[in-house]
């Protein structure tokens, strides 16, 4: 839904996923180089790196597609 001259709900969702993705991927990469003393189960899969990256990419896609500056198709 895009309002006249307004911001689409999907843009807000994009922002949310993008920021969360950046934070989670960042935390995951940090953990790769500084492994915790008590790692979570399946730590070796580094889920926060790839899950964060997925959120980041989806968020980026939404932000670009539904950017307020982009013309309504």
């Amino acid at each position: 839904m895009r309002d006249e001259g307004g911001v689409s709900i999907w843009f807000f969702i994009g922002i949310s996923l993008l920021v969360n993705g950046i934070l989670i991927t960042g935390a995951g990469v940090w953990e790769v180089f500084h492994p915790p003393e008590n790692p979570v189960v399946l730590f070796h899969l580094h889920a926060n790196v790839w899950w964060g990256a997925i959120l980041l990419l989806i968020g980026l896609g939404y932000c670009l597609q539904f950017s307020p500056g982009r013309k309504k198709s």
Partner: protein, 566 residues
């Protein structure tokens, strides 16, 4: 900076700074949305109905999200641990047929009557007395339920994160109060869609990693059979008798009590969810929204039921009931989702998972508050207190009612804190109205002979019978064998059969009183009853854009899933 006193020493998980940042960002974003939408909630139609301009996807996601509360997520994950895959019935047969029925049969009537609420439809169809009974009971119960959920969520935050209970109650409720009071239903809907994405983003990793650890679905079933019983992984084959499954229920209770009455009542007449669909921009969107919701609802067991089953298979400790857990210092069934979260999620992911739980709670509360506000303003205040106010006056009333609704919810939360048993009573009270209300609404829509007095008396007698059965079992627990028709029946069976009987009482009384009273003319019922109303067409669309086509797809997937997990 948060005061140190808000933390207590015992907690299930420990958050890192990045987790805290994710949670803080979430709160900042929902408030930003509320402030941004403030300027778009100036008329009654804007504030209470979101301008009736939601697309099918937005209305559908919001419709589902309003129901996807944190307690729902944690409670049903706990039920899956306790009862096995049978808990899935609350997501499949206990939702999908009702959502499709709402889309294809009931939605056109709600939509073309241009009513603001379900009580509003009852007024048009049965008269003022039915509306008053329905509106007052709904408004009262909604705001109390909101408080009960608020307390339960604060309790969860205390156990999981060690947060002070007052901190959780005030921060979450004030945030919801601000964004709903500012932007009305549009703000609630926008945030519900955001919360839907966050819930999935935060919870989906658990089943993915859990299945990896368990060695796939086939191996998971073997592990569950070893640690619990083979009964835990069958959806239908154990429902022949009450004693044959962990839930103590049979197929009659599930199919007729849950599938035909409770879920129909909840998904088609509970204004909390129906309000989201009424905000759709056109009739096709209004029909497609519940169908989209149904398609997504079928997938919710992935993030709710599967983590519960995985907990049964992989967690090293044995979980137990709430009272036993408190006495023995163990974890309860309801802790299974946070435990699984802590098991797999490191920094960042843990914050997202906790945000998913908070988002779930807030979407549920926003749903309650916005529905309460609309019903109070349009179905109680305007008809009975001040019918001559301007549109601007009613919008202001809506804003203030939002604030008051939040404060009453907070008050209820503190009341529950003092008297824990109130929680059980309020939850039971809410269930009293759902089944009879469905009987009244569906007869009103499908049977033109149903009269105004019949609608009122059917609703009243159905509700009274439900209260009567509940009181009977409360006073004498052995009465459950009569209500649920088996000495082996357990608590959940009572809910199903109580709903079934109260629905039948409502329908019977409505039919009998209808034949004893004067019917309305056909002209009076045009636009309100099936057969007397030209149902609006969704337009000349290709088959793949028609709601009926997608409802067929969803129904087919629903049948296949039930067969696969039979």
């Amino acid at each position: 900076m948060l005061p140190l006193s808000m933390f207590v020493s015992t907690r299930l998980v420990h958050l890192s700074p990045v987790d805290i940042a994710i949670i803080v960002f979430y709160f900042a974003l929902v408030l930003t949305i509320g402030f941004y939408l403030r300027g778009r909630a100036n008329t009654g139609e804007d504030f209470f109905m979101a301008g009736r301009e939601m697309t099918a996807w937005v209305a559908g996601l919001s419709f589902l999200s309003a129901n996807l509360g944190a307690l729902e997520l944690m409670g049903w994950a706990g039920s899956a641990y306790q009862y096995g895959i049978l808990a899935t019935h609350w997501y499949w047969i206990g939702a999908i047929p009702a959502m499709l029925f709402l889309a294809l049969v009931m939605m056109p009537f709600y939509y073309i009557s241009k009513t603001h609420s379900v009580p509003g439809y009852l007024k048009l169809r049965f008269g003022e007395s039915s509306r008053a009974l329905s509106a007052i009971s709904f408004a009262f119960m909604t705001v109390l339920m909101s408080g009960v959920n608020m307390f339960a969520m604060a309790k969860v935050m205390q156990i999981v994160l060690g947060w002070d209970i007052n901190f959780s109650i005030w921060v979450s409720s004030l945030t919801v109060g601000i964004y709903v009071a500012l932007g009305g239903l549009r703000s609630a809907i926008f945030n519900e869609v955001l919360q839907f994405f966050l819930i999935w983003a935060g919870a989906l990793l658990i089943p993915i990693l859990g299945l990896y650890e368990a060695g796939g679905w086939t191996n998971l079933k073997v592990l569950i059979a070893q640690r619990a019983s083979d009964q835990y992984v069958h959806l239908w084959s154990t429902l022949g008798t009450f004693a044959g499954n962990p839930m103590g229920i049979n197929w009659v209770g599930i199919v007729f009590g849950l599938g035909a009455v409770i879920s129909m009542g909840y998904w088609t007449t509970d204004f909390l969810v129906v309000q989201r669909i009424l905000a759709a921009k056109d009739i096709r969107s209004a029909e497609m929204a519940p169908i989209i919701g149904a398609g997504l609802k079928m997938m919710v067991p992935l993030i709710v039921i599967l983590p519960g089953l995985l907990g049964l298979a992989v967690l090293p400790m044995k979980l137990t009931g709430e009272s036993g857990a408190a006495a023995a210092g163990l974890h309860s069934y309801n802790d299974v989702l946070p435990l699984m979260l802590a098991r797999y999620c490191g920094p960042g992911l843990l914050g997202l998972g906790i945000t998913a739980l908070i988002a779930g709670f807030m979407s549920g509360m926003a749903g309650n508050v916005s529905a309460f506000t609309t019903v109070w303003t349009y179905d109680i205040y305007r008809p009975f207190i001040n019918s001559k106010g301007s549109d601007h006056h009613y919008v202001n009333m809506g804003r203030w009612t939002t604030v008051i609704g939040v404060l009453v919810s907070v008050g209820t939360a503190y009341l529950v804190m003092q008297f824990a048993s109130i929680m059980d009573y309020v939850q039971a009270l809410f269930s009293f109205f759902i089944a009879p209300l469905f009987g009244t609404v569906v007869l009103g829509m499908l049977w033109k002979r149903a009269t105004g007095p019949a609608g009122f008396w059917g609703l009243l007698c159905g509700t009274a019978s439900s209260i009567g059965m509940w009181t009977w079992v409360k006073v004498d627990p052995t009465a459950l064998r009569y209500v649920a028709l088996s000495p082996n029946a357990k608590g959940l069976a009572q809910d199903m059969f109580q709903a079934l009987w109260s629905f039948l009482v409502c329908v019977t009384v409505t039919v009998v009183v209808s034949y004893a009273t004067k019917p309305k003319t056909d002209a009076e019922l045009t636009g309100l009853v099936y057969g007397l109303t030209p149902v609006p067409s969704v337009g000349d669309l290709p088959f793949y854009e028609k709601p009926l086509f997608w409802a067929g797809i969803v129904a087919a997937v629903f049948v296949v899933l039930n067969i696969i997990f039979w």
